[in-house]
Structures are given as structure tokens and as C-alpha cells.
């Protein structure tokens, strides 16, 4: 069973709808007992970094998630803010992140994005940086829906799964063992998003 972690940040319903569409069963939950039994986890998220950390803390989910992800090596995918929360910190806030993936979340560097608009919003391509089951069958012209003002800087380039260029190249997804993060929204990326979520559902 795939559990979509509900910590009151973002539209969990659209992820559930897409899971249904690709033939997987999902449950939206913030119950530690339910989360402990998950075969796979999705950490969604739209909103501010500190609020996200605070909500996870207030729901008592951080120790449970650490146990699942770091000890039991349960596959997990973080989406947008969910990806950023997996890093050690963010320029958006003061709270520490979950720190599962070495690196930090930074604001788009306006010096380098120049006249490009922030947030980076719309459909964009992803360039693979390493082999992964998550990106299986996604052709080079696959486009995903992005909406973000911050992005992840991975400390280990080996963790970077794909990059996207917006003024400059940034990590649009990462993979560190069982831990995946995507900056874009597969649940809003139509057929390519469906393919990616299906890959995650089938990931062993």
C-alpha cells in the first residue's frame, strides 16, 4: 500500500487521483500507525519550508519517517516542497530539514536567471544525469509541470537524477538509494507524470 503523507501542505487529492489512474492503491494519511505499515511513501507539498517542517513535527511524523526511510529503507518520493524538505536546510526558512539527502535548498539566483520570471512556472524538460528505474521510458522530450522559487543544491553530484535549465542548470530530481525527490509535479504532468508515478509504483 502506498501512503501519501498528509501534513496539510498541498493538494494530496490530485496525487491520489493519478495513482488510481495508473492502477495503484493509495491512502492519504497522517496517522503514524498507518505510515509505519506503508510499502511506499509519497511526501507531497506545496507551500513554505518552515511550515512544512513544523507540520511534520506537530503531527509527530518525523521519527516515524526517519525509521521508515533510513532504517527500513522504504521507497519514498518527495514532490516539490516534499523534495526540498528532504535536504538539510532551506534559504526559505530557519528550520532544519529532514537531512536525508546531503545538500540544501536555495532561492533561484536572480543574478543568473536575469530577466526570467520567478517562480519558474510552466512545462519544462528534464535531462537525465544517471540511470534510474524512476525515469524508465521517459523520452528526452518528456515535459513536466514546475512551479517553484527555490531549488535543491545536492552536495553529492552522484545523487542528481535529472537537471533542468532555467537561467542555469539545477537538480530537477534526485535519487539517494530508496529516497527520490522531484522538483516538478508529476501529478499535474499528464501522461509523463503518470509514467513516472507508475515507475515509482513498480519500483522494487
Amino acid at each position: 500500500m502506498i501512503i501519501i503523507v498528509n501534513y496539510n501542505m498541498g493538494n494530496v487529492g490530485s496525487i491520489l487521483n493519478m495513482l488510481k489512474k495508473v492502477g495503484a492503491e493509495g491512502i492519504i494519511s497522517s496517522d503514524p500507525e498507518v505510515i509505519l505499515r506503508a510499502e511506499k511513501l509519497i511526501l507531497p507539498g506545496v507551500g513554505a519550508f518552515d511550515q512544512g517542517v513544523a507540520n511534520l513535527e506537530n503531527l509527530g511524523l518525523i521519527p516515524i519517517l526517519n525509521e521508515k526511510v533510513l532504517v527500513q529503507a522504504t521507497p519514498i518520493i518527495g514532490i516539490c516542497l516534499g523534495m526540498q524538505l528532504m535536504t538539510e536546510s532551506s534559504e526559505e526558512g530557519k528550520n532544519s530539514g529532514l537531512g536525508w539527502v546531503k545538500g540544501r535548498t536555495v532561492r533561484f539566483d536572480r543574478q543568473r536567471t536575469k530577466q526570467l520570471k520567478i517562480p519558474h512556472m510552466g512545462w519544462d524538460v528534464i535531462i537525465p544525469r544517471k540511470e534510474s528505474d524512476l525515469m524508465d521510458g521517459l523520452s528526452h522530450d518528456a515535459r513536466f509541470y514546475f512551479v517553484h522559487s527555490y531549488h535543491v543544491l545536492c552536495e553529492n553530484t552522484a545523487d542528481v537524477l535529472t537537471t533542468t535549465t532555467y537561467g542555469y542548470e539545477f537538480a530537477s530530481s534526485f535519487q539517494h538509494g530508496n529516497i527520490f525527490g522531484v522538483q516538478f509535479h508529476p501529478e499535474k504532468s499528464h501522461k509523463y507524470g503518470m509514467k513516472l508515478l507508475k515507475n515509482f509504483v513498480e519500483y522494487l
Partner: protein, 221 residues
């Protein structure tokens, strides 16, 4: 009916969907909620919902029904702080300010509220800058005296608004040919182009539109 339209749009590679409650009263609001809930089950692209939004509570319930963004128009004019309240709680990316504007006899543009019926005295340029300052993440610009007239976007108005802000501007109103979409981007400077009837009444419309735009050098999905 709209739920069926989404089935088609899903197959035709549409990039975003905007649904507005344009009723003159709120008597059928429950019905509108039903439509949004049904639609979001099948909508695998960003969904913006607008019409009759006056409070953060209303935004919260629409997001719960499956909307990704909300579009605010008259209520933002009547109480601009609503933009900031929504942006703080749900993030800037969630707040689209929709603006209806038309040209006056003297050649100046003016913003209208209340579904294009009430002149506000606001200029589109200054209102656009204000909503950006207040936290809007996008502007949905409706050229209302072009809407339904099939002569394309009001490119002069569009360009003025695009130049006044840094947030994305989406153009709407008046599209009758695929060329109008191209002009909206190349001449008007819009970050995205929207249309209604032409997309609803043409088979494989969005694919055709995009092919046309691609042939004219515009980077589309």
C-alpha cells in the same frame, strides 16, 4: 458536461485548465462544487478555479476539492488585502488575479469589476503592479471588449500589462484563429495564451493550435 470536456482535453495535450463560475447569482454554487470535484478526478494538468471567491475559507475548500490555483477578480478589487491573505496561506503560486479591462473612448484602458459591468477607475498597468506587490503569482488578463469578437487579443493592452510586471501574464479574450495565439506571445509578450470557444468547438483543437504555434517558432509542450 465540463467533466466530458476534460476527457477530450486530457487526450489533446492541453497545458492548464481554468474553470470560472460565471453565474450571476450563487444559487447554483453547490452544483459548481460538484463539477469541480468531478473534474479534478480526471484533470491531470494544473486546474485553476475562479468566480465568487471572497475569502480564504472559500479558497481552502476549492483547493480541497482539487483546484491547484484560484482566480480572484472583483473581490480583489473590493478588498485587495485578500490577495495577500491568500498568498500567505497558500503561496503566491496559488493566487491568480484575473483582470477584465477594456479601452475607453479616449484611448485609455480601464479595469472593470463585477463580470465586466462596473468600471473601477483603475488603470490595468497600475492595478497589475499592485497585485504583484500584494502577492499574486500570475495575472489572467481578459480583453473584454475583444471577448467574443473574434479579432484576437488586445495586443496593446497585453503588452502594457506584461511590461508592468515580472509575474506571468496569461492572455484571454477574442481568439478566433491560431494566428491570434501566436500574436499573443510574439507581439503581446504573454507568457501563456488561453482561449475558450475555439478550443471547445474544434476537434483536436489544442493539438492543432500547438502545432501551428510550433511551426511559428514558439516553444510549446
Amino acid at each position: 458536461m465540463p467533466a466530458t470536456a476534460v476527457d477530450f482535453f486530457n487526450k489533446w495535450a492541453v497545458d492548464e485548465i481554468v474553470v470560472l463560475d460565471v453565474s450571476r447569482t450563487q444559487q447554483k454554487r453547490e452544483k459548481f462544487y460538484e463539477v469541480i470535484s468531478k473534474l479534478s478526478e480526471k484533470c491531470f494538468v494544473p486546474l485553476t478555479v475562479g468566480g465568487w471567491i471572497t475569502s480564504t475559507d472559500e479558497v481552502r475548500s476549492l483547493l480541497r476539492m482539487g483546484a491547484d490555483k484560484v482566480s480572484i477578480n472583483t473581490a480583489a478589487i473590493e478588498r485587495p488585502a485578500l490577495i495577500t491573505e491568500c498568498a500567505r496561506i497558500f503561496g503566491n503560486q496559488c493566487v491568480v488575479v484575473s483582470m477584465d479591462a477594456k479601452k475607453q473612448a479616449g484611448g485609455e484602458y480601464e479595469v472593470y469589476s463585477d463580470r465586466g459591468r462596473t468600471p473601477t477607475g483603475l488603470s490595468p498597468i497600475s492595478w497589475a503592479a499592485t497585485v504583484q506587490e500584494l502577492g499574486a503569482g500570475e495575472i489572467f488578463l481578459n480583453c473584454i471588449d475583444h471577448d467574443g469578437f473574434r479579432k484576437g487579443y488586445d495586443l496593446e493592452l497585453l503588452r502594457q500589462v506584461v511590461d508592468a510586471v515580472e509575474i506571468p501574464v496569461i492572455a484571454m479574450g477574442g481568439v478566433f484563429t491560431w494566428d491570434h495565439l501566436v500574436e499573443g506571445v510574439t507581439i503581446g509578450g504573454a507568457d501563456a495564451v488561453a482561449a475558450a470557444n475555439i478550443l471547445h468547438y474544434t476537434e483536436h483543437s489544442t493539438k492543432k493550435a500547438k502545432n501551428y504555434m510550433r511551426e511559428h517558432g514558439i516553444d510549446v509542450r
